[in-house]
Symmetry: C2
Subunit: 434 residues, 2 copies
């Protein structure tokens, strides 16, 4: 029932119709639908794993890398984790209907600004089938209809997951058309989806820079890019160096493949000699390749000969950085390292190379902390903490659908509230404008 | 100094640099700059009127209509009103730095979500020179740099107004590059501005549907369309008919050329016979042309012959409506009128034809009011009040730069807060993620 053989425009128009009924549903019905989805996923676990095996087999045949295959794979334990995540979303507070603010105007009009669902949200994602259910649960909870467009390499998994969710939700009282999957995974369907402005209110891509560029070419519907991040840790002249080492190491190594991991370490020249040898040893010891500027290499005793030696042993250890290295989001075990002369130089560097995601300063100097937080233009600006905390769950917002590095509508974690808009309700007793 | 002979990209890059310094300026400095702008406009009133006369003369020669010429014209009184509006904006509260919310996380991290300027805002406007200063004042107050792109038919007026504002602001301590005008008014400059994503954070067009369509073709920068509205007044079965008459008349006639004026009157069939004759007489008596559906015309005793008679006297009075009439934003003295069988039919009609701006129900029935406010998907949904109140000033938000009919970021009046984004500031004492 979920995967109708309809055009993209028809699917979206159906979602639009469903969204009107969804917006009026009470919270209890939406939560019952989420519980039904979780239960159905558990009940049909075998079917899901079987469908997923077909995708994984095809992926192996097509020569997908181990990391991609791992993200694609579902086993019974993972299916149960997906169901548990749905229940966790059900347990969150309802964003819909929240009165954000209100007042009585001079003329007696009573004004309320009330949070309401956006309407229809399209989520475009790559070969991680769990995203289909995570995104669906967030949309159901926030009263939105969802149109999913997954990768063709997860086609069987997505089809069965969305069919299960749509059927369970419908039986629990959600309007037909609330949960939809676009079967065709081609660029043509993407373009049609992203330009269906009459029926789609927002497109959220969950994928890399290639997907982002593809969407920028074609989208007329508003898009929030849940982009990756080029995050920095800046170790100030007044830093507690032990704390700085823990934070820099954590920000890089604790989970290097995610958007809030640090990609660049900047160190004030006043503490560079005392700080860099220890952190460099710890990072390289953990397997991190450092792309270091000239001053860093000089402090670490690296010479041209060493660099050649590094190259011989396959690029591990410490390499000479070129400018491009400071602009790169490695999402892996590589880190650019540079020495700066001042706090201002660090701020300028971040303004030039940062992607506006998460930036951290380590310092005991209140003035430096204040200046850094004021001047750095990013979603999250940390003092004396790891960039790794940028996360809806960590921030107390519940689950998230991604992290926005853009400034409009949602900046930072995109949680339930960010999947909503608002409307003004104005109650009068005959007021007219003079 | 404001109108540099630079490329659009250069102007925007300069605005980006200025925006970084602007974001750190305190409120007092920004208010001093606004006062300086107001004083300079008053002091150089003669120059402004003289420059404007050249535009008006050229407009008359080019055969511009009276309404356009009136919007273009500046006299000493209007210049003083513009200066007064700048002072009124200075007197508003500062949106920048407001802590929207905050909490202490389990791990001791202190989290604040703080309002900050968007950065660089481009305002594209048509031949109303006062918009140049209104928009500039709103951007200065909210800590944003502004890039203005006006119509070529107001080129002389805009040039002198922006030169005055930029010089006064700079002398009062605002960074150079905070206030900019793009001299070339062609479509090429518009495209360059709207795709300058590295330097421009938001484009706000103030103009009609033609400008909107032109921007949709080329914009890669986020755009908030301050669009016109197709607003409805629905007179319910349980309406107080005297109140309904006052509200419908006010919503149409009080200022028909603005976006929150009503374009369609919907009447429940139970009260149509009692309501329509009186309101039709009052509206047509004020010069409004009614485009009425068949049931309305029958109730008003209009026949085919009457329609022919109407056509003979130049289309005044009551005409037969076609479907297109219900989709039209007249922005003038025309109103579509229809009879509906139920509240649900009214809601469906609004969903189909409305533009999501301002919608009103007149009723004494609490259930109908509640259902209407829940189901109608618009920025502002009124019960027993005129749609004409949708306005930042009326809502207690201070001045506005327009009204948004889109759902992302800003819905309804776009005031100072809507010209801002936010960032998360997170203060720790060494927290790392486990």
């Amino acid at each position: 029932m979920a995967i109708a053989v309809s055009s993209v425009a028809e699917v979206c128009a159906g979602a639009r119709r469903a969204s009107r009924a969804l917006a009026a549903l009470d919270s209890a019905t939406r939560n019952r639908a989420l519980e039904a989805i979780a239960a159905a996923l558990e009940a049909r676990e075998g079917e899901i794993v079987e469908a997923n095996r077909r995708d994984v087999d095809a992926g192996e045949e097509a020569g997908l890398g181990d990391a991609l295959l791992d993200r694609l794979r579902l086993d019974p334990q993972r299916v149960r984790a997906i169901a548990a995540a749905v229940r966790a979303i059900a347990a969150l507070g309802d964003p819909v209907g929240e009165v954000i603010e209100g007042r009585r105007l001079e003329n007696g009009l009573q004004l309320r600004r009330v949070r309401v669902p956006l309407g229809v949200i399209a989520v475009v994602f790559e070969a991680r089938p769990n995203v289909a259910i995570d995104a669906t649960a967030l949309c159901v909870k926030s009263g939105n209809a969802i149109v999913l467009r997954g990768s063709s390499s997860a086609a069987h998994s997505n089809a069965v997951l969305v069919e299960i969710a749509a059927r369970a939700a419908s039986e629990a009282g959600l309007p037909h058309g609330s949960i939809n999957l676009i079967a065709g995974g081609g660029r043509e369907e993407l373009a049609e989806l992203a330009s269906c402005a009459e029926s789609v209110d927002l497109v959220i891509p969950r994928g890399g820079e290639g997907l982002k560029r593809a969407l920028q070419q074609v989208a007329t519907v508003p898009v929030i890019y849940a982009a990756s991040g080029n995050c920095h840790v800046y170790v100030d002249a007044a830093a507690d160096l032990e704390m700085a080492e823990e934070i820099a190491f954590n920000a890089k190594v604790q989970r290097p493949g995610v958007c809030n991991a640090a990609e660049t370490l900047l160190v004030h020249e006043a503490v560079a000699a005392g700080f860099l040898p220890a952190i460099a040893q710890r990072l390289t010891g953990a397997g991190v390749v450092l792309r270091a500027d000239e001053r860093t290499r000089a402090l670490l005793g690296e010479t041209e000969g060493d660099a050649e030696r590094d190259a011989e042993r396959g690029g591990e250890g410490i390499e000479a950085a070129v400018e491009e290295d400071f602009a790169t989001e490695y999402l892996g075990m590589t880190m650019a390292v540079g020495v700066v002369d001042s706090l201002e130089e660090a701020i300028d560097h971040i303004a030039r190379f940062g992607s506006g995601h998460s930036e951290a300063i380590v310092t005991r100097d209140l003035g430096a902390a204040r200046a850094f937080q004021m001047a750095v233009d990013a979603a999250c600006v940390y003092v004396n903490a790891s960039t790794r905390f940028t996360d809806g769950g960590e921030f107390g917002m519940g689950a998230e659908i991604g992290n926005s590095t853009q400034k409009l509508h949602a900046r930072g974690p995109i949680g339930l509230r960010e999947l909503c808009t608002y409307k003004y309700l104005i109650d009068g007793d005959g007021q007219i404008r003079a």
